[in-house]
Amino acid sequence: MPRPKVAFYWCASCGGCEETVVDLAEDILGVVAQVDIVLWPVALDFKYHHLEALADGEIAVTFLNGAIRSTEQESMAQLLRRKSQLLVAYGACAHLGGIPGLANQFGREDILRSNYETAPTVVNEGKTRPQAVTEINGYRPHLPEQHQVVRTLDQVVDVDYFLPGCPPTPELTKAAVAAILSGNLPPKGSVLAPDTALCEACPRRATKPADVKFTEFRRPHRHLLDPQQCFLAQGVVCLGPATRSGCGVQCPGGNMPCTGCFGPTSRVRDQGAKILSSLGANVAGRTAEEIEPTLRGIPDPVGTFYRYALPASLLRRRVDIPHA
């Protein structure tokens, strides 16, 4: 019996998701023994034409990490969708847009100008920018173009399952692979993680008072944080109440608050709006004068509340950025 074909691919991402696959450690051998890896650019050399040569649906499952930002990523997502029976959005960027999704606060032009011209470390007197087509020594190399907005994978192609996290944990990955190999799968479109918020699993839960009454928001790098007490009780923004559990409470375990990488529960459409609504309602001040000083502890609201999920949120992008 032929082994099922599996593909791993990366789009707009940092490489951390690939690390998780490696983090499976010796367990990866068990996986490799059962499957036939047909694409894994981070580890093995494949070419586009290898992929194109496969029949449609020939790949059993593709794990695709990273958001969709360039024309090349978009066409690879479409190609892999066609070749795969199952497409799994792997990690926060493919699932929700992730850190690259924060670029949706700026247009393509702003980003290119910053990266190639105005950033303090850039030396580029000719103001050269990447071109789609360039003429060099008689060759005409092509480069992918960048879209105006960063999209989640399911905003580009149909996605079967989502593995959340920045990155997903090895445990969730193993469980997902096992479920796929056994065919024991939840309904299509499911996020393969628990559907309760992180507080449910957090060992600090009992230390949260009934009424936190925020008078200031304290930034983690400026204070020595209590290793046992609920972060919200310490006045530190923690996205645990608005974030799906399943990560093993790793950040609070390392004495850092949750920043929301697992995204919202299935019942929430906009993670940032929800945590904002919850924290806002619990601010002690009642007048603008009282509330204003409290808010100074959150200098970057989008980066705080929408760190991983801006493209997947109701906001998606700055309104004046052109489409496409």
Binding site: T196, A197, E200, P209, P241, P264, T265, R269, S278, A281
Partner: protein, 678 residues
């Protein structure tokens, strides 16, 4: 997979509301559009959906077409949601499978372009159709009503409402801010147009309040907190210390006679500062309750309100064995439970200093109308003699109408009572002093029983009426006859000349304003205000004493300026509304309560937010628990739950989102398969 979900069968009705909607919205076109939306089985337009035939149409269609959802596009849910829910229930459906669209206030009344208004009505209807498809059957809970009533304010409105309710056997708590009930009416000398003595008709009612077994009267007290909801309000009342035990004081007033101050020395509030009182005093002879009080700001036994125990306490000696005086009395907060609340907090007279050209505070012989009420009163500071602040007796008196009324610079509204009380004061001043009386008016407004006749009578008595808004009151004499006089400068708009009229006394007919703390009171009882600050009735014609909060009623001048007969009529109406509510015995609770889903993570974000303290925390399951009997469906916790683990009946997320999508979706209409949620 075979779906066992029942098919959605929506009946849609668009109401013409006579011309109210049909003149600006093409109702037939709206019906035709909605008729082709998914899930809609029939769509009709009809002249008056709220009429009996309109309601019967719905019931007949439910049976004939097997409808399981009904949407009516008509007026505001405030007006007719109840009507249509009842009609749907009579047709055999759960009333919460009905949804209403407001295309009158939201479309026809606010637009002038018929095509655009029709398009908007279609969009609003489309949103409602999408929402209705997801509506669930909901049960309604019965909640018993507490039969007690809180009446706030002890003026004639509060007094009349309290007595009416008490006579009907209900227990009433009457809360008054001042030391005695009676309000402004107690300060009036006579009442227009009958000229019967205000005290003679008011004080028997005040005594009746004081003596009534069903009335608990707390004067010198304020309502500080109101919690709960219709039928079950919990009210906190602050009782300020009067340093006299109400139970022990007999009202003999021997303490006042024996106060260390032999003569009254301090401005007497009841007489508008025209007379004097002692630190220990009773506001006026017929005060109810008949209990004295001590002003700690001036009593020698205190220093600026702080007890020093330095006085000889001759008042305590005079009180003797009654032992009513208690310098250590402290402020107390009492909690009471009531089912209904009547707010009758009255008005504040306009501050005439805001119109400096009329010289109040500059010229001693310029008076406010309320000061003159005390001046002409037999028990007033001058025993009814018209003696001016400088000791003179006037031979000519001017009454300036509309001070702080009908004026873009101050208040735009007509205060309704000033024309009539000005004429009453003109009559009384003429009677008491024999002076020449001049009324300066913009229009004479005398629309009441016997009012126009009273105006005729004044004309016959020789009172002068000069039409024109007074420009200025000045003491600058231009001719010898004006020396030592106050000169009224006015354009006589009937004669077409500018006149200067020298007088000895000027009376400013002050308008009526909301109290300075009306906004705080509004918030306390969760009422609305008009732009001018008077409390807003639920409907100006059909619910004039109800407010937008169920179980809270308004009476008297807190709702707008009015005279005593109208105030008493309104107070009776408010009492009747409260009785009708209480005697029902129970209310049906709107099933819009919030509920915690099994996925609650126990983050406790919702716990402190509930204004009704309906959310508890189960330490065993580590989850929030909502007491649906206490929940009022405000939705605060639903919005704030960061993991979306609190739902709300009637406002489930899928219902709200599908309604929003219905509003925002572009035509042509996509046709998703609609199916009912279990």
């Amino acid at each position: 997979m075979v779906s066992l979900k029942p098919e959605i069968r929506i009946g849609f009705y668009v109401c013409h509301c006579g011309h109210n909607i049909a003149s600006m919205v093409d109702c037939a076109d709206v019906a035709a559009y909605v008729g082709q939306l998914p899930g809609v089985v029939l769509a009709r337009d009809y002249k008056y959906m709220c009429s009996d035939p309109g309601q019967e149409l719905i019931q007949k269609d439910i049976a004939e077409f097997g409808l399981n959802r009904v949407v009516v596009a008509s007026c505001s849910p405030l007006l007719h949601e109840h009507t249509f829910r009842a009609a749907v229930a009579a047709g055999g459906l759960n009333p919460f499978l009905f949804h209403m669209v407001n295309i009158r206030e939201h479309a026809s009344w606010v637009h002038t372009d018929r095509a655009a208004a029709t398009a908007k009505a279609k969009v609003l209807a489309r949103a409602a159709i999408r929402r209705a498809a997801l509506a669930r059957e909901l049960p309604q809970r019965q909640i018993p009503i507490n039969p007690g009533v809180l009446v706030v304010g002890g003026g004639i409105a509060g007094i009349h409402a309290a007595l009416t309710l008490a006579e009907a056997g209900k227990h009433v708590w009457l809360i008054e801010r001042e030391a005695s009930i009676g309000g402004h009416m107690a300060k009036f000398d006579k009442t227009f147009p009958t000229l019967d003595c205000a005290a003679c008709i008011l004080t028997p009612k005040m005594s009746a309040v004081g003596a009534h077994p069903n009335i608990t009267l707390w004067s010198h007290s304020d309502v500080v907190q109101v919690d709960g909801y219709v039928g079950n309000y919990t009210v906190k009342v602050r009782r300020r210390p009067r340093y006299v035990n109400e139970e022990l004081c007999t009202g003999c007033q021997e303490c006042i006679g024996n106060c260390i101050y032999k003569e009254p020395k301090f401005p007497d509030e009841f007489n508008e500062g025209l007379g004097k009182r002692k630190p220990i005093h009773i506001p006026f002879p017929q005060a109810t309750p008949q209990v004295v009080l001590i002003d700690p700001q001036v009593c020698l036994n205190f220093k600026r309100g702080v007890l020093t125990d330095r006085c000889k306490k001759t008042c305590v000696e005079a009180c003797g064995d009654r032992k009513a005086i208690d310098f250590t009395q402290k402020e107390e907060t009492k909690e009471i439970q009531v089912g209904a609340i009547i707010v009758a907090t009255g008005f504040k007279p306009f501050d005439v200093r805001r119109v400096p050209q009329y010289g109040y505070g500059t010229y001693p012989n310029v008076y406010t109308a309320l000061e003159v009420e005390r001046l002409v009163n037999a028990s007033g500071p001058t025993a009814g003699e018209i003696v001016l602040r400088d000791g003179r007796r006037p031979s000519a008196i001017a009454i300036i109408h509309c001070v702080g009324s009908r004026d873009k610079k101050t208040n735009r509204w007509c205060s309704r009572v000033c024309c009539m009380y000005s004429m009453k004061l003109a009559h009384l001043l003429k009677e008491h002093s024999g002076a020449e009386l001049y009324n300066f008016y913009i229009d004479i407004r005398a629309p009441g029983k016997g009012y126009e006749e009273f105006y005729d009578k004044l004309n016959e008595e020789g009172v002068h009426f000069i039409r024109g808004r007074v420009g200025e009151v000045t003491d600058w004499a231009m001719i010898p006859e004006e020396e030592g006089k106050l000169v009224i400068r006015v354009e006589d708009t009937l004669a077409g000349v500018v006149r200067r009229i020298p007088v000895d006394m000027v009376v400013l007919a002050t308008g009526l304003e909301p109290h300075a703390d009306a906004q705080a009171v509004r918030r306390l009882f969760n009422m609305s205000c008009g732009t001018e600050g008077f409390f807003l009735e639920r409907h100006p014609k059909l619910a004039p004493v109800s407010t937008f909060t169920d179980g809270v009623y308004i009476a008297g001048c807190c709702q707008g300026p009015r005279d005593i007969p109208d105030t008493v009529a309104q107070a009776g109406a408010a009492a009747a509304e409260a009785l009708a509510l209480i005697d029902r015995g129970h209310i049906l609770q709107e099933p819009n309560t919030a509920h915690v889903l099994a996925d609650c993570s126990g983050c406790k974000s919702c716990l402190p937010l509930c204004p009704y303290t309906a959310i508890g925390f189960d330490e065993a399951t580590h989850q929030a628990v909502i007491n649906e009997a206490l929940c009022k469906g405000c939705g605060t916790c639903v919005a704030a739950c960061p993991s979306g683990s609190i739902g709300q009946h009637l406002f489930e997320d899928d219902e709200v989102f599908s309604e929003i999508e219905g509003l925002l979706t572009a035509d042509p209409e996509p046709t998703p398969a609609l199916a009912a949620t279990p």
